[in-house]
Amino acid sequence: MKKRVVITGAGVVSSLGFGAEQFWNSIREGKNGISEVTKIDVSNLPTKVGAEIKDFDPTLYMDKKEAKRMDRFNQYAIAASKMAVDTSKLDLESIDLDRCGVIVGSGIGGMETFEDQHTVLLNKGPGRISPFFIPMMIANMASGQIAIRFGFKGFNECVVTACATGNNAIGDAFKVIQRGDADVMITGGAEACITMMGFGGFCSMGAMSKNPDPNTASRPFDKDRDGFVCGEGAGILVIEEYEHAVNRGADIIAEIVGYGCTCDAYHITAPSPEGEGGARSMQMCINDAGIKPEEIGYINAHGTSTPLNDPSEVKVVKKVFGEYAKKIAMSSTKSMTGHLLGAAGAIEAVVTAMALRDGFLPPTINVKNQDPECDIDCVPNVGRKADIKYALSNALGFGGHNATLCLKKFE
């Protein structure tokens, strides 16, 4: 029989705060987490804004030597994992660590490390490349380091599916527990690619907003949206087999009940025109949860604020929900957080879980002039109370990856 899977801990490192509760409070209030980019020189780039983390001190979460051996994405992952494990109140002494695992992904991995060491190669030659270059750069190292940190010796892997990474990681971890292969999983995503190559690459693609005003650059579903705003950070969940959580008296934030995963098989970066891949992912997720579409009260949209994504995603919802699409609330919290790429699905799973727990729909901010092609209740500008039982969270990634999670209010 399938095991039930619940969320018992959450951690977030984001421009909107450290810790899941602080982050969620900012989201509830509709705060903007986007500012002018200062980490890199953007004077020769068309994009000027991002969701940078300004005051992150890794030594609050690990010793100096550990921090020095980790790329920034990995530092974020460790910090958010520590927060998640702390809030879960897991007693690491008494649980069976052989049945505890990790699936934490990253869209790219240690991009800054790659750039720094490439500079060393050009200036000093190959003999000076750091012996830590490879272990710091590889994307799976967050899963490895988290396992070392908490002694989790069970199932462990790394998901890399661009902007769908967070959802795929959590969905896969959910299935690992559901089929009985682990009791506890630390899962989510981490990203740190506000670097010259990362930012420059996204600029060249024409994917990022050229709006220099941090207060209006990320505006999903708005007519004047012109691209996504790149963010950094990590979202990590502790998820657990239901009986395991109840037996230790854990506080349960929400339940995970469904996972859908498909591919467009159409284009390397553009979504398929009718969004059929995304629709199949949502449908697969709803079927996996064993519920009717009408039972879903909220969707946390992928909602990147690019001209292509948002209307395509609305089309998908109409295809899946039919007439009921008019009644469903679907907001994009990327309007506040920016797009954390491989960590996006993970922080949005935190948002979705908290929305269910508190019965509160987070807003899409910066909706001044809603695009008629995005005619959906996007909870414009101000969040509101709503007693919802089920919610979906969507993530779509370059490569045509589509991943959807279904969460349920814990009762």
């Binding site: 010793d63 100096k64 030597k65 003999g127 000076r128 750091s130 012996p131 830590f132 272990p135």
Partner: protein
């Protein structure tokens, strides 16, 4: 003085306290280094003292004293 310079690099590279470092300190047993740390430390010594330490020689450097001795002889 070579020892002082080496000590400063070891503090930086291995994140240890200056007071814990003596000529007898073993990088692995006393200062918590692993094989990757040692590769990095050797590179830092080569840069600091403008010399090349061949791998066969580097393998023999296991204590702070070994490093100081090698550098004194070869620079």
């Amino acid at each position: 003085m070579v020892f002082e310079k080496v000590k400063k690099l070891v503090v930086e590279q291995l994140g240890v306290e200056e007071d814990d470092i003596s000529m007898e300190s073993s990088f692995i047993d006393d200062l918590g280094a692993d094989s990757l740390d040692i590769v990095e430390l050797i590179m830092a010594l080569e840069e600091e003292f403008s010399l090349e330490i061949p791998d066969t020689e580097a393998e023999k450097i296991t204590t702070v004293g070994d490093a100081v001795e090698y550098i004194t002889k070869n620079s």
